[in-house]
C-alpha cells in the first residue's frame, strides 16, 4: 500500500473536515434539489439568446451570405474570428484532462469535469461558424471525403481547411468520450442515491450499469489512460491546424512560422480564462468553495500569466520579424495593423492579453476572487481581439489599394455570435443542474493525500527527519 503523504508546503486541495460520504453529499445533492431562481433566470436568458442565434442564422441561410458584412477583400470576418475564439476556449479542458494528468497535477481533480464540459460546448459553438460560413450550407457534406457520389470532385487534401474538418471532429469525439467515461462512476453514484424512480432509471441508463467492482474500475482506468494518450497530441494538433488555416497562405501577417505553438498557447490562455469565469460563479452558487479553493484559482492564474506571456513573446517576435524580414509587404501589414483604422483592435489585444495578465505576478492578485473574475473576462475579450486582428487587419489592406476596405459586422453576424453564447450557456446550465460538476470519484482519490483534515495528520511525518522517514519506508517494503 502506497503511503498517503503530501508535503506541508502544498496547500490542501480539499478544505474542511471531509469524509468520502461528505464529498458525495456536497457534490451530488445540488442535482437532487430543485434549482434556485437564479438558475431559471440564467437558463431562460440563455435559451432566448440561442433563439436569437437561430433566427440570425436562418436569416443568413435564407437570404444568403450577402447579409453579412464580409466582402471580397475581407472574406473572413466575425465568423472565422468567432470560430477560432471558441475552439481556443475549448483547449483548457483537454489540457487539464490530458496534460495535467500526465504531469500529475492533483489540483486538476477539482476543475476537470467542468472544464471538459466547457470544452465540448465550446467546440459545438465553434463548429457552427465554418458550417454557416459556407453559404450554401446544404452542400456542407462536401467537406467530407465521401467516395464516388460526386464524380471526380473530391475535397482538396492539400488544404488546411480540410485538415480542420478532421482535427475538430476528432477533437470533439475524443473529448466527449473522455468526459463521458469519467462521468460513468459518478452517474452510478447519483443512481444509487436516487429517491425517485425516474431518476434511478435515467441515471442508471447513463451509467451503463456501473457496479463499481474491481473489474469495472480496472477497465475504467485502462480506458482513461488510452484516452489521455490520445488527447495529449490533440491539445497541440487542433489549434496547430487552425493556425495552418492562416499560416499556410502567403498573406503578410498570416504567413509566419511561429503560428502553431503560439496559437496553442493562446488557446490555453483563453480556455483557462473561461474556466475561471465559469467556476468562480459555480463554486459560489453551488457552494463548492471547499473543492474549488483559492489555491485552484491561483494555479489557473499561474497558467494564465504563463501562457499570456508566451503569447506576448510571440506577438513581439512577429512584430520584430516583420521589420527584420526586410519584406515590404510584411512591414506594411504590421504598420496598418497597429496604426491603421483598426488600431484600437490591436491595442485592445495587447492590453488585454499581454499587459494586464502581468498583474498576476502578484500573489495577492492571483488569490483575489473578484479580480480574477474580471481578469478572466478581460483575457477573453483580448483573445477575441487577437483573432480579429489576425484575420481582419491582415486582409483589409489588400495588395491593390483599389480593394482596400473597412469591414463592420451586420446584425445577423452579431446575432449569430450572441446565439452561440446562448448555446454555450444553455448547455452549461443544463450540465450544472443534472451532472456532478466536480468529479466525485477523482476527488475521493486525492482526498486522503490532499484533504485538509488528512494533511493535519501528516504533521507527525513532517516532524520526522529524512533518515527516519527513509528508514521507515524501506522497512515497510519488506
Amino acid at each position: 500500500m502506497h503511503l498517503k503523504y503530501e508535503s506541508f508546503v502544498r496547500e490542501p486541495l480539499v478544505d474542511g473536515d471531509k469524509t468520502y460520504h461528505q464529498v458525495t453529499e456536497d457534490i451530488i445533492s445540488p442535482i437532487e434539489k430543485k434549482p434556485g431562481r437564479m438558475w431559471y433566470v440564467g437558463f431562460f436568458f440563455s435559451v432566448a439568446l440561442l433563439l436569437l442565434g437561430v433566427f440570425s442564422v436562418t436569416w443568413e441561410v435564407y437570404y444568403g451570405i450577402g447579409v453579412w458584412g464580409i466582402n471580397r477583400t475581407v472574406g473572413w470576418g466575425w465568423d472565422i474570428t468567432n470560430f477560432v475564439w471558441w475552439v481556443g476556449i475549448g483547449h483548457a479542458g483537454t489540457l487539464i484532462s490530458a496534460i495535467l494528468l500526465l504531469f500529475r497535477q492533483g489540483w486538476r481533480t477539482g476543475v476537470n469535469r467542468a472544464a471538459e464540459a466547457m470544452t465540448i460546448f465550446a467546440v459545438m459553438c465553434a463548429g457552427q461558424f465554418p458550417i454557416f460560413h459556407m453559404g450554401r450550407v446544404w452542400d456542407g457534406f462536401f467537406v467530407l471525403p465521401y467516395p464516388n457520389s460526386r464524380g471526380p470532385l473530391w475535397p482538396n487534401f492539400n488544404s488546411a481547411l480540410l485538415w480542420d474538418v478532421f482535427a475538430i471532429s476528432t477533437y470533439f469525439t475524443v473529448s466527449l468520450l473522455f468526459w463521458y467515461s469519467g462521468l460513468i462512476p459518478d452517474f452510478a453514484t447519483v443512481r444509487d442515491r436516487a429517491k425517485t424512480k425516474l431518476r434511478k432509471r435515467l441515471y442508471g441508463l447513463a451509467s451503463f450499469g456501473w457496479t463499481g467492482t474491481a473489474k469495472n474500475w480496472q477497465r475504467h482506468e485502462a480506458l482513461s489512460l488510452v484516452l489521455a494518450g490520445l488527447s495529449t497530441p490533440l491539445v497541440l494538433s487542433v489549434h496547430t491546424i487552425v493556425s495552418f488555416d492562416f499560416a499556410t497562405s502567403v498573406i503578410p501577417g498570416w504567413h509566419t512560422t511561429i503560428f502553431p505553438p503560439y496559437f496553442v498557447a493562446g488557446a490555453i490562455f483563453s480556455g483557462f480564462a473561461m474556466v475561471q469565469t465559469l467556476l468562480i460563479v459555480c463554486r459560489k452558487i453551488l457552494g463548492l468553495e471547499d473543492y474549488i479553493t483559492i489555491g485552484h484559482l491561483e494555479a489557473m492564474n499561474k497558467v494564465i500569466v504563463l501562457t499570456g506571456s508566451i503569447v506576448g513573446v510571440a506577438y513581439l517576435t512577429e512584430l520584430f520579424m516583420s521589420w527584420y524580414s526586410g519584406v515590404l509587404y510584411e512591414q506594411e501589414a504590421f504598420k496598418w495593423r497597429i496604426l491603421g483604422p483598426y488600431w484600437w483592435s490591436y491595442w485592445a489585444m495587447m492590453t488585454c492579453n499581454v499587459v494586464s495578465p502581468q498583474l498576476f505576478w502578484f500573489k495577492k492578485l492571483r488569490r483575489n476572487v473578484p479580480f480574477t473574475f474580471i481578469m478572466s473576462i478581460v483575457v477573453n475579450i483580448g483573445m477575441w481581439f487577437e483573432r480579429f486582428v489576425i484575420i481582419v487587419t491582415s486582409l483589409y489592406r489588400d495588395y491593390l489599394p483599389g480593394s482596400w476596405t473597412y469591414y463592420s459586422p451586420t446584425w445577423p453576424e452579431i446575432g449569430f455570435y450572441l446565439g452561440t453564447f446562448g448555446l454555450f450557456f444553455t448547455c452549461f446550465f443544463l450540465f450544472a443542474k443534472y451532472f456532478p460538476v466536480i468529479a466525485v470519484a477523482e476527488i475521493k482519490f486525492v482526498l486522503k493525500t490532499s484533504g485538509e483534515n488528512y494533511k493535519k495528520k501528516m504533521e507527525t511525518i513532517d516532524a520526522k527527519s529524512a533518515e527516519e522517514f527513509k528508514h521507515e519506508l524501506d522497512h515497510a517494503h519488506h
Binding site: 502506497h2 503511503l3 503523504y5 503530501e6 508535503s7 506541508f8 508546503v9 502544498r10 500526465l102 504531469f103 500529475r104 497535477q105 497541440l236 496547430t240 495552418f244 499560416a247 499556410t248 497562405s249 502567403v250 504567413h255 509566419t256 512560422t257 511561429i258 503560428f259 502553431p260 505553438p261 499561474k302 504563463l306 506571456s309 508566451i310 513573446v313 510571440a314 513581439l316 517576435t317 512577429e318 520584430f320 520579424m321 527584420y324 524580414s325 526586410g326 519584406v327 505576478w361 511525518i461 513532517d462 527527519s465 529524512a466 533518515e467 522517514f469 527513509k470 519506508l473
Partner: protein, 404 residues
C-alpha cells in the same frame, strides 16, 4: 541526510583525456586551418567552435530552466537528483565565457580577406537587405546582448545552487528559501523569455544566414537545447546511481527523465516540422532557399539523419513504458539525443558559410569531445562540493515516495 560524492579516478581521467583531445585538436586545427591558404578552412575553424560552444552553453542553461520550471510548478519529482541540474547550472559561466569570447571574436575580429564569412552582416554595405537590418544586426548590439545574456544566465545558475545550499542550513522545515527560490525562478523565466526564447538564437545562430528569417527559430532552438539538456541530466544521474550514489533515486525518477526525453523529442519535432512545413507550403523562394540547401543540397544526408535520430528513434524506442525504466535504454537514448541535436546545431550553422565544403571529421568531433570533457570535469567537480541530497528541502520526502 547527506551523501558525498568523490570523483572516481576513471571519470576524472576520462574527462581530462577528452579535454586533452579537444585542446590538441584545437591546436592542430589552428595550425593546419588558420595557417593554411584555404578560405573555407579558416571559416570552418571558427564555425565549429561557434557551433559547439553555443550548443554546450544553451544545453547547460537548460538545467537552469528546468530548475526554475520545477520550482514554479512545485514539482517534487526532481528533488531526488536536484543537485545535478544545480551543478550544471552553476557552471553555465564556464561555457558562457568560452562562447562569449568566440562569438564576440567572430563578430569583431574574424575576417577572411576582408570578408566576415560567418556573420555577413558585419559589413552590410551594398546589400540592401542587410542594410535594412542594421539597427539590430550590428556589432554593438551583438556584443551588448551577448554579454548581458551570458552574465544573467551565469548569475541565475549560481544563484539557484546557492539558494539550494542555503536551504540545508535553514531551520528544519523552513520554507523561506523555498519561496525565495520561487520568486527568483519567476525572474529567470522572464530573462529566459527575452533571451533563449527570442533574441539570443536570432543573433548568434539565425544571423549566420543573415537574409533568412523565421519567427519559430528561437523556440525551435530552445526545443533542441532543452531535450539535450535533459539528456545530459539523465546521464549524470545514471552515472551517479551506478557509482553507488543517489540512494533516493529509483526507477520512478529515471522514468520521469525518460518521459521528458520522449516528450520533448516530440515537441522538437513539432516545432521543427511546423517551421519546415509552413515554409515549404508557402513556397516563397527567399524562405525556401534555406531548406533547399539543407534538404536537397550537399547536406541532405545530415538533414535526414537529424530527423531520424531526433524523432524516429525516440518515438519508437522511448514510447513504451519499460524502455523508459531501463537504465541501458535511457542511457543509450540520451547519448543518441545529444548527438542528434548536436547535429541539428551543425546543420543550423554550417550550410550558410561553408556551402558544399562541409566536413564532419576529426576537427568537428574532437572539439565536441573537448567540450564534453569540460562539462564532465566541471560538473563532477561541483558535485563533490556539497551533499548530493538537497537536505531539508520541503519536498524531499515526497521525492522519496515518488511514483512516476
Amino acid at each position: 541526510m547527506t551523501e558525498r560524492f568523490e570523483i572516481p579516478a576513471r571519470l576524472r581521467n576520462t574527462s581530462l583525456a577528452l579535454i586533452a583531445v579537444g585542446v590538441l585538436v584545437l591546436i592542430l586545427g589552428g595550425v593546419t586551418m588558420l595557417g593554411g591558404h584555404d578560405h573555407h578552412d579558416k571559416t570552418r575553424f571558427w564555425l565549429v567552435l561557434l557551433q559547439n560552444s553555443v550548443f554546450f552553453l544553451l544545453l547547460s542553461v537548460a538545467s537552469v530552466f528546468i530548475q526554475a520550471a520545477a520550482s514554479l510548478a512545485q514539482g517534487g519529482w526532481i528533488v531526488a537528483y536536484k543537485r545535478v541540474p544545480e551543478a550544471i547550472g552553476a557552471n553555465v559561466w564556464v561555457f558562457g565565457l568560452i562562447a562569449g569570447a568566440i562569438l564576440i571574436f567572430i563578430a569583431t575580429g574574424f575576417s577572411v580577406d576582408g570578408h566576415n564569412t560567418i556573420y555577413h552582416w558585419v559589413h552590410p554595405e551594398g546589400d540592401r537587405i542587410l542594410e535594412g537590418k542594421k539597427a539590430f544586426l550590428n556589432k554593438e548590439m551583438f556584443i551588448g546582448f551577448t554579454i548581458v545574456t551570458i552574465a544573467l544566465w551565469s548569475f541565475f545558475g549560481r544563484k539557484f545552487r546557492a539558494l539550494s545550499l542555503a536551504q540545508e542550513n535553514a531551520p528544519k522545515n523552513s520554507t523561506k528559501v523555498y519561496w525565495t527560490m520561487f520568486k527568483w525562478s519567476a525572474g529567470f523565466l522572464l530573462v529566459y523569455a527575452l533571451t533563449q526564447m527570442s533574441t539570443t538564437p536570432w543573433l548568434w545562430i539565425m544571423s549566420i544566414d543573415a537574409h533568412w528569417y523565421s519567427t519559430m527559430f528561437s523556440w525551435y532552438t530552445f526545443a533542441s537545447a532543452f531535450v539535450s539538456g535533459m539528456s545530459v541530466i539523465l546521464l549524470f544521474v545514471v552515472f551517479l546511481k551506478n557509482n553507488g550514489n543517489l540512494e533516493l533515486v529509483t526507477k520512478e525518477h529515471i522514468h520521469d527523465l525518460g518521459k521528458f526525453m520522449f516528450a520533448f523529442s516530440v515537441f522538437w519535432t513539432y516545432v521543427w516540422f511546423a517551421q519546415y512545413m509552413l515554409i515549404w507550403y508557402s513556397n516563397i523562394p527567399e524562405e525556401t532557399t534555406y531548406f533547399k540547401m539543407r534538404q536537397h543540397g550537399p547536406y541532405s544526408l545530415i538533414w535526414y539523419s537529424v530527423f531520424i535520430i531526433n524523432f524516429i528513434m525516440p518515438i519508437l524506442i522511448l514510447m513504451a513504458r519499460p524502455s523508459k525504466r531501463n537504465y541501458f535504454t535511457v542511457t543509450f537514448m540520451a547519448m543518441v539525443i545529444i548527438f542528434g541535436h548536436w547535429l541539428d546545431f551543425y546543420i543550423m550553422t554550417m550550410p550558410g558559410p561553408l556551402g558544399k565544403h562541409w566536413h564532419l571529421g576529426w576537427y568537428e568531433l574532437g572539439i565536441f569531445m573537448g567540450f564534453a570533457g569540460l562539462l564532465i570535469f566541471v560538473v563532477s567537480n561541483t558535485l563533490t562540493k556539497s551533499s548530493l541530497v538537497p537536505g531539508n528541502h520541503p519536498l524531499l520526502k515526497e521525492a522519496m515516495l515518488h511514483q512516476s
